[in-house]
Symmetry: C2
Subunit: 411 residues, 2 copies
């Protein structure tokens, strides 16, 4: 497998990763696919940790996704185990057997129930997971858990990612400061309508599982579900939100508690940052694209139209070439199948109005738009004239790099 | 604009194009965009010709599409005028004014009503159509109409096409032999749920417009609407079916007439050939891909699943690389949103069963599949285990050529 250069859209570096009370990490190498790098991580969570999950809507989902869905119902977690290199998808009954073996071994090592172990796998589809390699590696990880192990853990689960992705926030619940730290992996097979990748968000806040569930669903809809690299929804996408409950704030009973105002805002901002990092590491990406859609019937409709633009190969290849090809944006709006009024549709690129109410603006000068298209950060705005729905979606361009990467990587 | 090499999937050549009684062609150069080549064609149809149309479902459709839809209601045609180089889309009120001016001028020259002139435009979106150049060129075309002008006409409307596309059939209605001839253009912005491109099919059969409409809709659903290059539905797609009525067969009243059995079969076969020619000229295409989907809830659902596979960038880039990446086929089935049972899903490539009922077949040997993937014609079959619905869809791979072409062509 070829190593690909770091995306030009990568941030300067990882943020400093804080220690979160009640959370420890370890990583190691099973050797199942990669040589000379970690490919397995464990996050160990203290007793009392609550958890919520959002998972892919792909009907061919992996065995680990099925397992996480089932365990998320009771909302308690003591460990998260993630391997890279094999997705354990379409592996028949052996798939769930491998998940159960991993959960049992981890539970034995950490002194919890198998049902409190959450599992994800990322990598090749349709190959049997060599679970014995995971089981054999787990004891060394269990004995090396460390509160400062997050960076090594997050690097262990990368596949075609060209840079590590993490984000950190502090938030207040009442007068108490809590920390939120999240990391994720993903750069291809990335599409809307699910959690979009593997992502793990941790906090020391003390929150009931039902509140976590509600917060996660709501913020995922405005972050990971508004991002797409290639429109190809993975079979394995999972985002987990775990709260260790070590912070000493006043009790919170539900997601609607006003004390969560700041926490919710910070969580959403962190989730958006993570989602954007995935788009910035889109396979072959050379440009980061923000699409703001307004004037749709509803917010949900606006998101569909914005994603039709984001996923259009013609729009994405034009952006790759730095071509201010707004006609393709119009085409993509129209093909979305959502209500839109051509004769009330307007398009802006880089803040410049190009077309208004179904027609090119008189005296349109492409010069400033061409300059914008030559940059790394592209902004496309459209108003479609049938309502007040709006959405913002993030994506990247479609380049030769995407074709290269996906011809050489067996996902 | 760069000239691209002829697709390696092109047929050996054009079929011999027959003369059809009641039909004449002419072509010429307006100079609106291309230099030194024809960019305007007229098909003149004798009085008594009936016509039917299927057009794009893109909500941002062109002025010519709106015009054709309106005129197709009365079902009579005396001319078809098509220009290449400018799509007359998103051109405000000037768009329909240009269509009307073209229809008026053509009608004046041919002695018919403007409403009997059908018009299509293909090319750049959002630029005003220089209709005065069309109007100025029409008289020369009207005076050079010839029964053997089909080839020059079909070449005049090509844009990014790398080869000319036509198909011919003879069919019997009762004991009378009739001819069907069709041609089309298109190689990008090609997607399902509409007519998919510009296509014109002519016959000397004598058929009421209502019967033509029914035959066209039915055969378009099994041909053009089962083909996709990039999932990007054009704003201009139009297929017209015109019957000059010169053949001396017994009267036919409706599409359900048993006398049309052979005609319907030959028309469908011709439409499928044309649709496949478009996929074979997909921008940058190096491989022609057939996807056969069975076991869906309904035929319509099967088509959606097959198109999800056909439009998946990950599937298409794997095919480009000759990689037998069946896991991505599974992913695409799952992301389609249609009912499918993972544990009853099977996948074949090149006739070899790779996975059966949610699991890799024991002892799977990739050798024959890899050999198949190295070829030009790729066959992917999947059974998804929830019903009896089936569909066949045609597409091409996604290559560096697609990225190149769409970074250099302003569509």
């Amino acid at each position: 497998m070829a190593q690909h250069p770091v995306s030009p859209l990568a941030p300067a570096g990882l943020p400093a990763l804080p220690v979160i009370a009640g959370l420890r990490f370890a990583a190691g190498c099973t050797g199942m696919r990669y040589k000379g790098r970690d490919d397995l991580m464990v996050a160990a969570l203290d007793p009392g940790t609550t958890i919520a999950a959002v998972t892919t809507r792909n009907a061919m989902c992996s065995a680990p996704v099925e397992w996480c869905r089932a365990q998320a119902k009771h909302g308690r977690a003591r460990a998260i185990v993630v391997n890279a290199g094999n997705a354990n998808v379409f592996t028949g009954r052996d798939g769930m057997r491998a998940v159960e073996a991993t959960a049992r071994r981890t539970a034995g090592l950490l002194g919890c129930k198998p049902e409190e172990v959450f599992i994800s796998s990322t990598g090749v589809i349709g190959m049997k997971l060599p679970v014995e390699k995971i089981v054999a590696t787990l004891p060394a990880l269990a004995s090396s858990l460390a509160t400062d192990g997050a960076e090594r853990a997050l690097r262990a689960i990368m596949t075609t990612d060209t840079f590590a992705k993490a984000a950190v926030r502090t938030a207040r619940i009442g007068r108490t400061e809590v920390t939120i730290m999240g990391f994720c992996k993903g750069s291809g097979m990335i599409a809307p309508d699910m959690a979009t990748m593997l992502g793990y968000v941790f906090t020391d806040a003390k929150l009931p599982a039902a509140a976590l569930r509600s917060l996660l669903r709501e913020t995922a809809d405005r972050s990971f579900n508004c991002m797409s690299v290639d429109g190809d929804t993975s079979t394995s996408d999972t985002v987990l939100l775990a709260a260790t409950g070590k912070a000493a704030h006043a009790p919170v009973r539900a997601a609607s508690d006003p004390a969560l105002k700041d926490f919710r805002a910070k969580l959403e901002s962190l989730m958006i940052e993570l989602a954007q990092l995935v788009a910035r590491d889109g396979e072959g990406a050379q440009k980061f694209v923000t699409i703001k859609l307004s004037g749709a019937k509803t917010d949900a409709s606006a998101r569909k139209v914005a994603l039709a633009i984001a996923n259009s190969p013609l729009v994405k290849t034009a952006i790759a070439a730095g071509d201010a090809n707004w006609g393709r944006v119009v085409m993509a709006i129209g093909k979305s199948g959502e209500p839109a009024d051509r004769d009330r549709t307007s398009v802006k690129i880089g803040g410049v109005t190009i077309a208004r109410r179904g027609d090119l603006v008189p005296g349109y000068d492409e010069t400033p738009v061409a300059a914008h298209m030559a940059g790394r950060d592209i902004l496309i705005e459209a108003e479609i004239g049938v309502g007040k729905g709006r959405a913002t979606v993030w994506t990247c361009d479609l380049t030769h790099g995407y074709v290269d990467i996906n011809g050489s990587y067996r996902s």
